[in-house]
């Protein structure tokens, strides 16, 4: 847990859940496991606020609790999980992916589930249907069954899964001793402990989405409360079965997309389609952490290829052998049976992609010549300064400058190998080298900081223009109410003109800035995703 991660977690939580939650979570991140009373005291927050914040965090799976250190009688301790909090940054991408794969319905389902942490199927179906109906033309509405179909599709493809059953703190095995304490802390790995996570419950949901009329709003609280009461009373037969977004599955999808687009840009569209087909075929059969996909025979691949590409069998074989020959080594051959067995080397692909990311950072930041040196060191592992100059064909003076700059930025490491035990500089080899894994970790921290910076800047921009934003919101509200009451057009323009031209310009600039910052955050998140998956995959393969 680094300072940059904590900072970013804090910023994300502040934006989504407000300052109290942020305070509690950051405190937990900084200090590790804490009891409820400890948190309340050290953050000097009222106990009920801390409780509420912990509820929010637990609802979203961002904090865990476990029995205290002092045996079963000890106070329960709470623990924040930074990985889960950092996922907030990727929410837009999850939602967007759901939209591209399953349309508006899928988008709204994933959005709802993400917004609420976890929810029942019936609950999400109802809300989504209502929201869709609200956006439709007057007189039309969304049928529940359609939303149910979309939901079950998402479950079938494992994008949404059941929440693992909550282990009852009190009922945990009373295995005493310090060794057993770690056991409940580890999250129950869903693969073995929870066989039913993709089974849909039998839900009886009939009806259509209800339209919320603007006039109803005025009645406010009362009606909302009434509706809530109604919802709870008519049980749909799935109470207690909660669903959450399966981040691993989404990440698998992102990874596959990254691999496919890398193949497309290095080779051509057709090769990338073949790789896409291979990845899709093994989507469900390959575990998320596997080093390569299950072997697929050329026959199988041929049959699974969408007919629209019109690739004939011999051409497919040529493409496959080209992919195998390519120095990227994304695709490997594992056997000869069935017309040749092929696998996609997932770890290798991630390593190559993250290497390309590192190279790209060096290239953009220090120029293409430094990137040449960087790649040279990646290829040749250890080189002396003289060798670097000769291989890269860069004059000694410039090469030295670049090497030292890279060294001072920790992108390149220096290894001393003394010929004599006294480490005399004249009798020592100085070898430059690049270690991809530590360098990736370094860049990951840079990314966290960069996103944090972007978010802070965004908050600053909105704060600076707060008055203006409030004014425009007020005027929009007035306009809406005037329109609803059927005001004269002249009246409307009069209200509209309350925002002066320079103010309008300023608002537009602000919108432009915020959009730019937002999209940059998402772009940096793509880098974060690649580096994170590379680091995780290298750790698991060890």
């Amino acid at each position: 847990m680094t300072q940059q991660e904590v900072r970013l977690c804090g910023l994300l939580l502040q934006e989504h859940f407000g300052e109290v939650v942020e305070k509690v979570a950051v405190h937990l991140l900084r200090t590790g496991a804490q009891t409820l009373r400890g948190i309340a005291q050290e953050t000097s927050t009222p106990l009920d606020l801390v409780k509420k914040s912990l509820c929010v965090l637990a609802q979203h799976g961002m904090c865990e609790f476990r029995r205290g250190r002092r045996g079963p009688a000890g106070a329960v301790e709470y623990l924040a999980t930074s990985e889960r909090i950092l996922r907030i940054l990727r929410y837009p991408r999850y939602i967007y992916t759901a939209k591209t794969l399953y349309g508006d319905t899928g988008e709204l389902i994933v959005e709802e589930v993400l917004q609420r942490g976890h929810m029942t199927m019936s609950g999400s179906v109802k809300t989504v249907a209502d929201r869709l109906t609200h956006n439709m033309e007057e007189g039309r509405s969304m049928d529940y069954s359609e939303v149910v179909t979309a939901f079950s599709k998402l479950v079938e493809t494992h994008f949404i899964q059941r929440c693992p059953p909550v282990a009852d703190v009190g009922a945990a095995p009373p295995a005493a001793g310090p060794g057993a304490q770690a056991a409940p802390a580890a999250p129950p790995s869903p693969a073995d402990s929870h066989p039913e996570r993709y089974t849909l419950p039998h839900v009886k949901l009939t009806g259509r989405g209800k339209r919320r009329h603007p006039s109803e709003e005025s009645e406010g609280e009362q009606r909302g409360a009434k509706r809530a009461k109604m919802d709870t009373s008519e049980s749909s037969g799935d109470t207690g079965i909660y669903w959450q977004v399966n981040f691993d599955r989404f990440h698998q999808h992102f990874r596959d997309q990254a691999i496919v687009s890398a193949v497309a840009s290095k080779l051509d569209q057709t090769s990338s389609e073949i790789v896409r087909t291979m990845l899709r075929m093994s989507e469900v059969t390959t575990t998320p952490t596997a080093a390569c996909t299950q072997p697929l025979s050329a026959n199988e691949i041929f049959r699974a290829l969408p007919p629209s590409y019109s690739i004939t069998r011999p051409v497919l074989e040529q493409y496959l052998s080209l992919l195998v020959d390519d120095p990227m080594e994304f695709v490997g051959k594992s056997g000869e049976s069935g017309g040749g067995m092929y696998v996609v080397n997932l770890h290798k692909a991630l390593a190559t992609l993250s290497r390309a990311t590192l190279e790209s950072v060096v290239q953009e930041r220090f120029g293409s010549r430094s990137a040449r040196i960087f790649r040279l060191l990646l290829r040749k592992r250890h080189l002396e300064q003289k060798q670097v100059e000769d291989f890269a064909m860069i004059p000694a003076k410039e090469a030295k400058d670049m090497l030292y700059t890279l060294l001072s930025e920790n992108l390149v490491q220096l290894q001393e190998i003394p010929k004599t035990p006294d480490h005399a500089p004249s009798r020592t080899f100085y070898l430059y080298t690049v270690n991809p894994l530590p360098t990736a970790r370094l860049l990951l921290q840079h990314c966290y900081k960069a996103v944090g910076n972007l978010m802070e800047r965004r908050q600053y921009e909105t704060k600076e223009n707060k008055r203006l934003l409030e004014k425009s919101q007020r005027i929009e509200a007035i306009l809406a109410s005037l329109q609803a009451s059927g005001a004269e057009p002249s009246q409307l323009t009069e209200v509209e003109e309350m925002i002066t031209a320079p103010e309008r310009q300023q608002l537009q600039a602000l919108r432009h800035h915020v959009n730019k910052l937002d999209s940059s955050e998402n772009q940096v998140d793509e880098t974060i995703f690649l580096l994170e998956s590379y680091i995780n995959s290298t750790q698991t393969s060890r």
Partner: protein, 314 residues
Amino acid sequence: MAEVKVKQELTDPVEIENRIKDLCQQFPHGITDQVIQNDMPHVEAQQRAMAINRLLSVGQLDLLRNSTGLLYRLKDTQSASKMKGSDNQEKLVYQIIEDAGNKGIWSRDIRYKSNLPLTEINKILKNLESKKLIKAVKSVAASKKKVYMLYNLQPDRSVTGGAWYSDQDFESEFVEVLNQQCFKFLQGKAEVARDSKQSPMVQRNSSFATSHEVWKYICELGISKVELSMDDIETILNTLIYDGKVEMSVIAAKEGTAGCVDGQMKLYRGVNPIIQSTGLVKTPCGLCPVFDDCHEGGEISPSTCIYMTEWLDF
């Protein structure tokens, strides 16, 4: 009659000397005593020895020792004539420089080898230089270091740095231009292959170019004033590999094919990068020179960042 005359003439010491010199010219690697004996069976050993001694003392002949015995060799007449009027020290220094060949030798190393004082050596070197017997060449390895070699020698690549140096300066612009031209050539080839609409295997194979082809293309372009070797071009192509723009593969080839070295042929082809620039470097923070000093509330902070302001207004 003629035979008798020859025999008579051979007895003359001058004639014997000339005859020995002729023999030496026939065998530039040197002759043994036996060869002289076989050539002039009638000359007595004493006369022969006298003639050889005279030649040696005049400095026209060199006495060398090798595994089979003593060898006589004609001294370089040119250098012999040039060395005229120089003393033994000068000859010694000259010898040392001659031994160093086209790699040259540093004056300090001459001192170690000759055991002469440095001032003396400097004097001798100046002397020899003015006679145009030797020359001083600046080494690229260390710009202050001068090495000496015989006047008529072409300095070694290690001294001049090969085609990439002119006057001890690395011609980085020249290298850059060649780098770009090679890439253009390979890229063009890859594009033609891509547009050919042939089967993917043929497309890939026709995008390859051997180093010989690249070399020929560069030579025909005539951008280089100096003669470039195929090795030079391969070094350039290697820099393209390190730029991530080119891939190399080695195939076996029949000896004698153009561009074939030791039964191997190096094939190069231009490739596309696997990713566009990554997300991080699309933000100002990814390129910021003061990234490490940036903190909220500090002198440099995201809220007041001028790079960010410029980028936002862009």
